[in-house]
Amino acid sequence: MTNRQNPAQPDDPAETTEPPPTAGDSGTTEPSGADPTPDADPAPAPEPAHDPETVPWTGRTAWVFPGLVALFGAVAVRGALTIEAPPHSPPPGPGVVPGIVGTLLLLVAARMALVNLRVARRIRQGAQVPGTPGVDWPPVGIIVLTLAVHVALLEPLGWLLSGALLFWGVAYAFGARTWVRDALVSLSMSAAVQVGFSLGLGLNLPGGVLELVL
């Protein structure tokens, strides 16, 4: 969702924090290239320079997304070929659009692969390419695991407990380690949601084991 290639945009501050006054304008504020205003540092603009949407993919993980796109494309094309149109349906059957979308997905995947190869060649030739940032796997794993556990336990255990577990798990993944306080906050959040929803909106969240006990 980042703004980058805005054609109509005369001077895009994201890319040209410093250089443009010399390039395009009459240069009234900055008479010479070297000027001591605080934000006029000639080094590549620190943050906006690496727009994640334009950073090329490098290394082995570069193939993850093209692979995913190809997978989507393959499933769509396979669907297009196997979907059975009910008799008497008008000419463009239910398989046509999946076929088009699937083919386009495969084309996009191929094009991404091509770009990857080109980037890899540039790197071999010694070009400096900003890489994709690494992933801090443990927190991501904990969150996904907690979500899975929450989904599995939601109905047997009830919202109150499984919701609290979810809250606590995600908080733990983000570094919460004050056990007693975390547990209290988790339980009260979960309880507040349950009470608020059943009283305010008439939505029943599963009671689970607590329903049997109480």
Binding site: T29, V75, V108, V170
Partner: protein, 515 residues
């Protein structure tokens, strides 16, 4: 004026104590969600969508109107205070806004943002009220072929113009369309991509997609960034009272921003980003020229108040403007508009010409509620803006745990189905991969919402012509739209050429400068 009378009636319908309460709730909730890092108004509307199932449509849309505007203001707050825009439309605000905050003028930046949003919302909503009926007259001439051309146009515009990389934008869009294919085919009744699951026959609910793509995807993305994630603790705030000098400099910027935003809002694919950046660029030039003429000094680069006032007004103006095609044609031009469309569909309403005829009162009530929402936004947020900033001082683990809890709840509330939650996890993982590899998620959202519409219009057109493809291009409207598609597709190419040229020139000039 006909529209004014209708709007007045709408205002009368919307101004009940109950509805005012909903608008208030909406503004508060929207701001609260908008202030959270990485969350925008699209997110806020998505999370609240299931909550409103029990409400009557009028109250629900009033709530949404409040959430929409509140969310946009919330996004401005984080842009200014933290330099972390919650959504693309607030990026332009960060440049001068955050510098103002660093210079100890955060309250003034917030103040000018609120008032700018207010001015733009009021003007923008009035423009919508005047133009939506005209749009409807135009839309009545549309057949399936024209509608298909229109959807293709928004696809290309969204994927090519808004995203940083055309290839990634297109990939995201296609994935969205592919997700939208799941379920029973509306035209022939054939099951598609159900993978043997009865739940998948109903398709993947839009709430699952939005919550997964925007909220949970964001949680995973922030978790993966670990220590690189923005630090939320470094905030200063105060009372946002503007001095007379601030007002004098903000006022023209508000008006220019409003004009830019409202003009660009209805254009599919332009989103809120283009007008906000145009406004920032324009204000910068005006400031420079003013200084040359011996007026106030040019503060751009050091926190110029015009650089906040203009883009924020443009942002809200375009938000209101995007309602013109949404209500008149049933065509969402932004992620939030896409979710609003989904909200209409939940009530069995299809925006477009027919909506004005059958549920005209609802449309005018919605427009009136937008006016009410913007007034409430001003009343609530001008004095309390600094309080919102405190929300960010919540411990980060609890903040994201809370977002996760509400995401799960929002999806479970659709149908009390655990299978939906499994889908949610799947979509969240997809969103995480997309975010990690810098693939924009907004086109996917547009694809999910617009894909089925595009398909049914295409097949309806072809069924009417017995498979003759020429029906797609046999009217002036379709041809014009396809011509625009070509232009939109060429714009990124042109801009790439221009950027390459600018880089070369830059290299030459810096080379001269250092020698």
């Amino acid at each position: 004026m006909d529209a004014i009378v209708l709007l007045r009636d709408g205002l009368a319908a919307a101004l009940t104590p109950g509805n005012l309460l909903w608008a208030l709730c909406g503004v508060v909730l929207g701001t609260a969600v908008g202030v959270l890092p990485g969350m925008g108004s699209a997110m806020a509307v998505a999370l609240l969508l299931p909550v409103t199932f029990q409400m009557d449509p009028t109250s629900a849309f009033i709530l949404f109107a409040g959430v929409y505007y509140g969310g946009m203001f919330g996004g401005a707050t984080t842009s200014i205070l933290l330099n972390t825009p919650g959504q693309a439309s607030s990026i332009a605000t960060t440049y001068e806004g955050h510098r103002m905050a660093l210079g100890g003028r955060a309250p003034q930046a917030l103040g000018t943002a609120v008032i700018g949003s207010f001015v733009a919302s009021i003007v923008g909503t009035l423009v919508v009220a005047l133009f939506a009926p005209t749009m409807v007259d135009f839309a009545l001439k549309f057949g399936p072929g024209e509608y298909f051309a229109l959807t293709v146009f928004s696809f290309v515009a969204v994927a090519a113009v808004v995203s940083g990389s055309v290839l990634r934008g297109v990939a995201s869009l296609l994935i969205g369309i592919a997700i939208g294919l799941v379920g029973i085919d509306g035209q022939s009744g054939a099951p598609r991509f159900d993978f043997g699951s009865a739940v998948l026959l109903d398709g993947i609910d839009i709430v699952i997609v939005t919550v997964g793509l925007l909220a949970l995807g964001e949680v995973l993305h922030v978790a993966a960034r670990g220590r690189n994630a923005p630090d939320l603790a470094s905030i200063r705030s105060g009372k946002p009272w503007l001095k007379r000098r601030d007002v004098r400099r903000s006022l023209p910027a508000w008006l220019r921003g409003t004009a830019l935003g409202t003009a660009f809002g209805p254009i599919p694919g332009s989103g809120a980003e283009i007008p906000t950046f145009l406004s920032l660029g324009a204000e910068r030039r005006f400031a420079k020229r003013r200084e040359q003429r011996g007026g106030d000094e040019n503060e751009f680069g050091n926190g110029a108040i015009e650089g906040v006032a203009g883009p924020e007004a443009a942002n809200n103006g375009s938000a209101a403007g995007s309602l013109v095609p949404l209500l008149g044609l049933g065509l969402p031009t932004s992620a939030t508009a896409a979710i609003m469309l989904a909200a209409f569909q939940q009530y069995g309403l299809q925006p477009g010409p027919v909506l004005f005829e059958r549920n005209g009162d609802l449309v005018w009530t919605l427009l009136a509620s937008l006016l009410i929402g913007s007034v409430l936004l001003l009343v609530i947020n001008l004095p309390f803006a600094p309080l919102w900033a405190r929300l960010l001082k919540l411990p980060k683990p609890y903040l994201y745990a809370g977002i996760t809890l509400f995401s799960v709840l929002a999806v479970y509330a659709i149908n009390a189905s655990v299978v939906h939650l499994v889908m949610l996890i799947g979509v969240a993982l997809l969103a995480f991969v997309m975010r990690h590899f810098g693939v924009p998620v907004a086109p996917a959202l547009i694809g999910v919402v617009l894909g089925p519409i595009a398909e049914s219009e295409l097949r309806r057109a072809l069924a009417a012509s017995a498979g003759d493809l020429s029906i797609l291009v046999d009217s002036g409207i379709s041809l014009t739209l396809y011509a625009l598609v070509l232009i939109a597709a060429c714009i990124p190419l042109v801009s790439r050429v221009r950027r390459l040229r600018a880089e070369r020139r830059e290299r030459e000039t810096t080379g001269v400068g250092t020698s």
